[in-house]
Subunit: 250 residues, 2 copies
Amino acid sequence: MTSPLILRLRHHGKLGDRAAQALLACRKRNRLVEPGHCLMRQAERTSSLFWIESGWAMRYRNLANGRRQILNMLLPGDICDLQGLIDTRADHSVKAMTAVMLCEVDPARFLQLLHDDPEVATSLLWSVVQEEGILREHIVRIGRRSARVRLAHLLLELVRRQALGGGPSDGLVEVALTREVMADCLGLTPVHVSRTLSELRREGLVVLEAQGRLRITDIDALAREADYDTRYLHLARPDHALDLAGAGQA
Amino acid sequence: MTSPLILRLRHHGKLGDRAAQALLACRKRNRLVEPGHCLMRQAERTSSLFWIESGWAMRYRNLANGRRQILNMLLPGDICDLQGLIDTRADHSVKAMTAVMLCEVDPARFLQLLHDDPEVATSLLWSVVQEEGILREHIVRIGRRSARVRLAHLLLELVRRQALGGGPSDGLVEVALTREVMADCLGLTPVHVSRTLSELRREGLVVLEAQGRLRITDIDALAREADYDTRYLHLARPDHALDLAGAGQA
DNA sequence: CGTGCTTTTGAGACGACTCAACCATTGTGG
DNA sequence: CCACAATGGTTGAGTCGTCTCAAAAGCACG
């Protein structure tokens, strides 16, 4: 079975088997994190670098007034995070939502590879660009959309992202999200999320399945409702991928 | 006079004169953009790379319902954007708020330098990490803070950021911001921004000066009000900057 | 078959929005 | 140098979306 990291990167462009193998060979060791445990803590110094092999995590920030804002979700194949290459005091925490299998990367080996293999470098750059796009989309969602659209939009994004890493692509959200998690993601209260979700369910756009997991019944209908750009995250193959090697090894 | 790019990068860590010169030498040409004109348009393909030498710009997104969300402001010394290294269809626009002087970069030369000079590579990585931090802070601001705190927090950030690029550090916001711009940044309406700003002015935290420019009269007081972490953006020198060269040229 | 957690539902409050009128500033042409 | 237009800012009144608090209902697990 292919690693979700490779699956995801291959949505960006060419990543040959040799490059993929080289990337996977940067793995130092695997680590299993229990649900609810932290992969990284606010104000802690870290210089670790890893990707998510399985399970979901959340990147969030606790505020002085006790509130919480989830900044992003981390799904299988996501890298967390290039910031780890720099030794900074983290301004946020990362917590496992389910059991999470991490692949820790050997930074030196990783940088070496980045330096030597243009395919890997390009893929990783794509990955960073995609992640920034996700953050921007999140800003728009929270800043200028109603609760209903926010929620629909988030669910669509998660379903799409999990598919990129090899997860289900049939509308089922593979992880049970509590109302509180969705609320902290969307800048709402759990109560209001509950109401809004009921509304979507009443209209048959979404159903609640076993273990509290959600399923989008009609992705296109929901996407229309949510002003969701289906090209988002697609990031089709570029017409002319910039050749990082060309410059680097000239 | 030193370029704001160099000033800003030097807040991150060591960037010697040789490295700084090399970075500036990547400049292909300068371009002046009139206020209100776009540096980059939503859905357009771009593969340009440049930094802001003077003036302010905004990165924003227009929604289907006619609303606008400002994603970030671009100040002198900011790079816009590494994404330009990849040929993607932009999901947002960038518009000059004032007259803006751009320094266009020769991508090939830039990548070469990134590849060869570890000091430059480290600085740029810092820069990317800082930018991500700004986006995250923006999410928290919009998601979990009241109008009053949002506004205060934004002003504090802008004042700090302009100082990093060599602008005033005395609390004066060097560019006149319309209520609408602040509103589109903060996910509010111009009317409500007006009211909120009046409130801050009535309390003497902020004053309105000539040409509609704002001045924060007591930065510390406002920072306390706004739950603003003064370490934010500081990004003090790392204890042990990871040596990108060490791995790359081993 | 409790026990603890999450979800749902209801009622009322409040922050931010809308619409609309008026005011202030700046720039322009007579 | 003034009158005027254009733009952006302020203020008021009423509405609406989301929040708060609280209680009850589901659900999972020991």
